[in-house]
């Protein structure tokens, strides 16, 4: 006992964390369930329970890495018997850290992302003016009032070389289906979901306001997103600002178009495929069946499930702002996920989230035998199965 450090609860910090949304940390009855289900504990020791406990006593270690670890995958809160909001607690602690300008270790990237978001509207230090470059020559129109759908491209879909290919596929598929859609181009800003989870509320609010203004100015009614993170922002975060837009995720729209016969999936794929449920599409938004129903309509496609699927899906590691942070080799959840995909005997790993796609592509190149597996977005599989649409 005497070898332990002695600390005293810090009431002011307790209050600060509570104000920042971490009040539910008090509810913890220390059962350990969160640590048991946390994906981190498959790659290294990490106790979200301890983060919660520290928060409840005002003893958060804002100068250490651990407060930045939670990927907000949503596994532990969905199983917490006490109703602790581990995500909100993590975010609250990060807000406190942000307010003190503390960005420990790899979290310095959060500061960089915040700066880029504030100036350019994207976290990738890219020029705002080049946001629609991916669409050149595709006949994609700027959104105008009266159009059926606004396609909200997202930062990765606009700038990340791999995810840009997904955006192109989306445009082609939508055109094939005869969907009347447009994009915001330079007026689109990051949805702000991830920077909010990383604790920068100020930047989130600025981004949200900019987007809301653009939506209203252009008369947007229905928004298509390909990123589950944008989906979450528009369906959960923006309503806090008293706005409600109709939001549809790409997987839902594809399921609708296929079911209505507006997309005829005719080309046989001849592959075994496994589907990865992105945290923000599955656990956070409850969308599990639509992507599977689309895959089920692809001729010659055999869908197999990984052991951790649906509610138990294994996080890729990209949520909560972690997509910007360097995660050391051996600690990447995506590596585990690829191994799981390979064990099913599938040759294609399909997902429906730009973060997952990006993380899986990285892992594919860095783990032995990873290149035997193709990683695709759902829409790319659809495009492959459409007669006469060339995949980019």
């Amino acid at each position: 006992m005497s070898t332990l450090d002695t600390v005293a609860p810090f009431a002011e910090i307790v209050a600060e964390v509570s104000r920042a949304g971490g009040e539910t940390s008090r509810l913890c009855y220390q059962c350990g369930k969160c640590d048991v289900v946390c994906p981190w504990n498959r790659v290294r020791n990490f106790s979200i329970r301890k983060v919660v406990r520290e928060a409840s006593l005002g003893l958060s270690e804002i100068g250490l890495d651990d407060i930045w670890r939670c990927t907000t995958c949503g596994t532990c809160p969905s199983q917490c018997p006490r109703g602790v909001g581990q995500i909100e607690v993590s975010v609250a602690v990060r807000r406190v850290a942000t307010s003190y300008g503390e960005f420990a270790g790899p979290a310095r990237k959060v500061r960089a992302a915040g700066t880029s978001l504030a100036s350019e509207g994207n976290p990738l230090s890219q020029e705002r003016g080049r946001r629609a470059d991916w669409a050149r020559g595709l006949g994609v129109r700027p959104f105008a009032e009266g159009m059926e759908l606004l396609y909200f491209v997202g930062c990765y879909g606009s700038f990340d070389p791999r995810v840009r290919k997904v955006s192109v596929a989306i445009a082609k598929v939508l055109q094939r289906a005869g969907v009347d859609f447009g994009i915001l181009g330079n007026e689109e800003s990051c949805c702000g979901e991830s920077i909010r989870k990383a604790g920068n509320e100020e930047v989130f609010r600025a981004l949200a306001k900019a987007n809301i203004k653009a939506f209203i100015d252009r008369g947007v009614k229905r928004i298509l997103v390909s990123s589950p993170h944008c989906y979450h922002a528009f369906t959960r975060d923006y309503p806090e600002l008293m706005v409600h837009f109709e939001v549809v995720h790409l997987s839902e729209l594809l399921a609708e178009l296929v079911a209505d016969g507006r997309l005829a999936l005719t080309c046989s794929l001849g592959k075994r495929v496994t589907y990865h449920d992105p945290c923000y599409l599955g656990r956070h938004s409850g969308i599990y069946d639509q992507p599977r129903s689309v895959l089920g309509r692809v001729p010659g496609l055999e869908l197999v499930e990984m052991p951790d699927c649906r509610q138990d899906s294994l996080c890729c590691g990209g949520g909560g702002g972690r997509i910007w942070l360097e995660t050391p080799k051996g600690e990447r959840f995506a590596d585990l996920r690829l191994a799981q995909a390979r064990e099913t005997g599938a040759s294609v790993l399909v997902t429906s989230c730009p973060y997952c796609l990006s993380n899986f592509e990285d892992s594919r190149l860095s783990i032995p035998g990873g290149d035997a597996l193709e990683v695709k977005d759902l829409v790319e599989v659809v495009a492959d199965s459409l007669d006469g649409v060339d995949a980019p």
Binding site: L4, R26, P81
Partner: protein, 1017 residues
């Protein structure tokens, strides 16, 4: 459908589990006509499915099934199984209940229980009684000891599905099967209703908790009960589902479906699982000592009487590990079907492989709770259980409808029994003017005079399912018995205690002219009354009976030596027959009952009990040692449920004073008591005078006290208080400018000196913490605990307190909290409480202004005096010992003496009230009799041989032996009403003048001779 004519009764008991059975028996004994309605094909409820019961590990069926037969034979009880309630009309005193009797497709009056139908039935179905772990047939008897012992036909019967098979109908020689049977309605009018539908076990399937339903080797605790049980799917061998092999490494997972605010789960604690898991661990280790067991848990809630010791017993077993962590299933290993479990330990997550996983499933409301509530017009609480008032826990929201058992919330068996007696007391009070009007006496055939007959012994050997039959070769035992002298008949039976077997014994006695009966089975402790009754049914004196215990004394202790065990069983039976030959007929005496109760102790328990007995129409003498009534409750202001205790006690006191049948003595001490059940005489000194009270029953409600701590500077620093002292300060608004309060749990208990949990302190701490937070939301409140034992619905308050910012810190002795005076950062004088926090891995230093000790509840000296005077045993902790932990929780070993309240064990106010009502119900049963029966197996003095030495007088612990003046001087004399038949006096008597009948020297010597001589014949 025509409306059938109504039948009349006094009380309808809905649900024939243990609680319903107890309510029915109490009310029937008190002289009311009872209809016992059960929707299952047999009575017994969940308890019938359990293997053993904690903390004594008694065989569950063995202690419950005699009650089935008691119900079945009781002239005032009519059992209606396979029957559901359709509608209820009327009001208290006059309810009209319409019942639907579901078709059983077998006529109960014609069926002999021969089971030929079952043999021929071609449709296998999973056995519902065995949790579908083994196969049965579409027509089957629900379980071997079922009452009624009549098969029923499951809906999966081929005839019922498509009309293509009716073989059972054609093979039944008695034409008892009627596949065209339709549901019929029956109308019964009663004055009162007791709802005892029990609970629903949490079903992990819908959510797929821990892979249940998809991973084969994940079973529920109820499944595991059946696996453990000798009458279970594998005759008591623990075989796992995937490959029917013995699992050597088993995990138990706590709180499945309980203590969670997740959709589909229960927010409350199910109150019984911690201890039943420990029981299962102990039993699994008894089955196979090499079993490795890991129990994954959060708080261990060993809050009941003797639970803490039971927990420690489980913990100390080699190869048993308790891990404080909730878990997740890692994976099922395809090759072995083993299951891995992920858990947190020492700050890291580990994964471990198990051969079998047992889920500690919680208790929910019964599946048909909503329908029942609607039909009976009673309200449910937020959790879907029957709503009750903490001040009157046996009453529902509708007058005349009472509730007992787990329908009012999770509880264990003794509470289900106590609340049954309580519901009985309230029903009896409501219907007292019609008591006895519809009652019938039991009529036995005339007793045959056998004095001129040759001795003809009948031997009935029991397999006890597999309990005996798996070890002892019963057929060869029967064959052996047939060859013994005087044995006129010998036969075997699967369960000799089942209704049909017992009825058959009566018949055989008559047909074969038997005049002695030996039953080779289990223990007379549980089954002797049943078989004596069977002899009376057979028309011979009930003392012509002997029980040869070939289970506890043989098969259970020699499970691995089958041949030797069979030889020993033969020896035991030979000895028993030798004794039986010499048994004498004995007569029992009837003792008149004084219709007055003495209640000792005027706290809430005593007052509630006194009032309830008086409400049933009997005089009560209430004796209180203080000047004022109220007891400990006067120091309590509120309960967690929000009851205003002061107001409640004031009302209760007023009711006591106003009740014409309750007579109160204040500042009174019991100085002496004598007599026996029905006729006690007690002397009370009261305000300088001495009064003599004649009474038929005694209730001891002497309460308990608060431990006076010596720990944590109590008594040295005025800033250190007990919870009761804090409660007083709270009531007086006297908190000062305190900014922070730390409460320390388990002060003075869960220690070597007091090895029990005081049960109430965790909830008390939560209650006071909530009051503090309500009054001063900014106040820092810490509760330092070992295991939060907020069992049952109080779990919700634990969470509420946490949500309001009360900070809970766990400690593990000896690394306990330390309290010392200190100065805080600003130099203010504070008390500094230091305690290691297991999650932080650091020590917390809490600077507080008040330290509140949750001091144990301890027995009072007054209870010890009462125990000595009234000859009531005490448990090792100094609390009154009940007659049977499970089934006679308010009775004592002394007939006519009952116990209730904190003197029995610490308990919450509503629990005290429930138990006081239970004691009142039991007392009422006795007081409603005109006489009670005293055993014939008592001592008798041969005056010619008595030398007046008085050795017998001092040997007797019950004061049963006295002097009688004769012409030759004084001689010893036994009062048969007081004699317990223990025979201590016989051992002391130097001349052999005093002898214990039914255990005479002659009988015992023959038994011993038979033991020593194989040739005896």
């Amino acid at each position: 459908m025509t409306t059938p004519a109504a039948r009349f009764g006094d009380v309808m008991v809905v649900g024939a589990g243990m609680s319903g059975i107890q309510a029915a028996l109490d009310l029937a004994t008190a002289g009311y006509r009872v209809f016992l309605v059960e929707k299952a094909p047999a009575v017994g409820g969940k308890m019938a499915q359990l293997d053993k019961t904690f903390p004594t590990n008694d065989c569950s069926m063995c202690i419950e099934s005699p009650k089935f037969i008691e119900c079945d034979r009781h002239p005032n009880i009519e059992i209606l199984t396979h029957t559901e309630v359709r509608s209820v009309a009327g009001e208290a005193g006059n309810f009209t209940v319409t019942l639907t009797r579901k078709p059983r497709f077998v006529d109960e009056n014609l069926c002999t229980g021969c089971t030929t139908c079952n043999e021929y039935c071609p449709i296998p179905i999973p056995d519902p009684f065995n949790q579908e772990l083994s196969a049965s047939k579409a027509i089957h008897i629900y379980f071997a000891q079922a009452v009624p012992l009549v098969p029923y036909i499951d809906e999966r019967c081929r005839y019922l599905e498509d009309g293509t098979c009716a073989i059972c109908e054609s093979v039944c020689k008695n034409h008892a099967i009627d596949l065209r049977q339709q549901p019929t309605d029956e109308v019964i009018t009663v004055g009162a209703i007791v709802l005892s539908p029990g609970y629903g076990a949490f079903d992990p399937r819908p959510r797929g908790d821990y892979g249940y339903g998809t991973i084969q080797n994940v079973v529920t605790s109820l499944d595991f009960e059946r696996l453990l049980c000798a009458t279970g799917p594998h005759e008591g061998e623990i075989l796992r589902p995937s490959d029917r092999k013995h699992p050597h490494k088993i995990a138990w997972i706590h709180c499945v479906g309980s203590r969670q605010v997740l959709a589909g789960g229960h927010s409350y604690c199910s109150a019984v699982c911690c201890t039943y898991v420990q029981k299962q661990v102990i039993l699994a280790k008894e089955h196979d000592a090499s079993t490795e067991a890991v129990i994954f848990h959060n708080d261990i809630r060993a809050y009941g009487k003797d639970f803490e010791r039971f927990y420690e017993r489980a913990k100390r077993l080699p190869g048993v590990r308790f891990e404080r962590s909730y878990v997740a299933i890692g994976r099922e290993i395809p090759e072995t079907r083993n299951v891995t479990i992920r858990y947190s330990s020492d700050g890291a997550v580990k994964e471990e492989e198990f051969e079998l996983v047992v889920l500690g499933i919680g208790l929910g409301p019964p599946a048909d709770a909503k329908r029942l509530a609607q039909q009976f017009g009673v309200e449910l609480d937020a959790h879907g259980f029957c709503k009750t008032d903490p001040g009157n826990p046996a009453a529902t929201t509708r007058p005349g409808v009472f509730v007992s058992g787990a329908f009012k919330g999770p509880m264990d068996i003794p509470e289900a029994v106590v609340t049954a007696s309580g519901a009985g007391a309230l029903s009896s009070a409501l219907l007292r003017s019609r008591r006895g009007r519809l009652a019938r006496d039991r009529v036995y055939p005339a007793e045959r005079d056998v004095s001129a007959e040759d001795v003809r012994v009948g031997v009935f050997a029991c397999h006890c399912g597999a309990n005996i039959g798996r070890v002892v070769d019963v057929p060869s035992l029967v064959e052996y018995a047939r060859g013994l002298g005087h044995v006129a008949h010998a036969e075997e039976s699967l369960f000799v205690c089942s209704t049909d077997a017992a009825a058959k014994i009566s018949g055989t006695i008559r047909e074969k002219g038997l005049n002695r009966v030996v039953v080779a089975a289990c223990t007379p402790r549980t089954h002797e009354p049943l078989f004596r009754d069977t002899l009376r049914e057979g028309g011979i004196n009930q003392y012509f009976f002997d029980m040869a215990n070939i289970r506890e004394h043989c098969s259970w202790v020699h499970a691995k030596e089958k041949e030797e065990a069979t030889q020993k069983a033969k020896d035991i039976v030979r000895m028993s027959v030798a004794r039986a030959v010499h048994l004498e007929p004995l007569q029992e005496s009837q003792l008149p009952v004084t219709h007055v109760a003495l209640v000792v102790g005027g706290g809430v328990a005593g007052m509630t009990c006194a009032l309830s007995i008086a409400d049933q129409g009997f005089e009560v003498e209430l004796v209180e040692k203080d000047e004022e009534l109220g007891g400990m409750a006067r120091r309590i202001r509120t309960t967690l449920e929000g009851l205003d205790v002061r107001d409640y006690v004031r009302t209760l006191v007023r009711k006591v004073y106003r009740h014409p049948l309750v007579h109160v003595s204040h500042a009174a001490t019991v100085t002496d008591t004598s007599g026996y059940v029905g006729s006690f005489v007690t002397t009370v000194r009261c305000e300088g005078r001495t009064r003599t009270i004649r009474h038929g029953v005694t209730v001891l409600a002497t309460g308990a006290g608060e431990y006076r701590p010596t720990e944590h500077l109590y008594g040295q620093d005025p800033r250190v208080l007990t919870q009761l002292e804090l409660e007083e300060r709270l009531a007086n608004g006297d908190l000062g400018d305190a900014g922070a309060v730390a409460m320390i749990q388990c002060v003075g208990c869960r220690s070597e000196d007091r090895n029990y949990c005081a049960r109430v302190c965790c909830s008390q701490a939560v209650k006071n913490a909530l009051l503090l937070k309500k009054r001063r939301p900014d106040l820092e409140v810490y509760i330092l605990f070992r295991d939060m034992r907020t069992y049952g619905f109080t779990e919700d308050s634990y969470r509420e307190a946490a949500g309001k910012g009360v900070c809970f810190v766990r400690f593990e002795p000896p690394e306990g909290p330390e309290v010392e005076p200190a100065a805080d950062d600003e130099g203010r004088a504070v008390l500094r409480v230091t305690v290691p926090d297991p999650v932080l891995g650091q020590k917390l230093a809490l600077d507080v202004d008040l330290v509140v000790l949750s001091a144990a509840v301890v027995p009072l000296a007054g209870s010890q005096d009462a125990a000595r005077l009234f000859k009531v045993a005490m448990n090792p902790d100094g609390f009154f010992q009940e007659a049977h932990v499970k089934l006679r929780p308010v009775d004592t070993a002394g007939d006519g003496v009952f116990i209730c309240g904190a003197a029995h064990y610490p308990k919450h106010l509503s629990e005290t009230i429930a138990q006081a009502l239970g004691a009142a119900g039991r007392a009422g049963c006795l007081l409603s009799q005109d006489s009670v029966t005293a055993s014939g197996a008592v001592c008798r003095v041969d005056e010619r041989r008595c030398v007046s030495c008085g050795a017998c007088l001092s040997a007797c612990g019950y004061g049963a032996v006295g002097w009688r003046e004769t012409l030759e001087g004084k001689r010893a004399e036994v009062n048969p009403a007081l004699c317990k038949g223990d025979g201590l006096c016989c051992a002391q008597c130097p001349t052999g003048a005093i002898a214990l009948q039914h255990f005479t020297d002659e009988e015992i010597c023959h038994q011993i001779d038979a033991a020593l001589s194989e040739e005896w014949n």
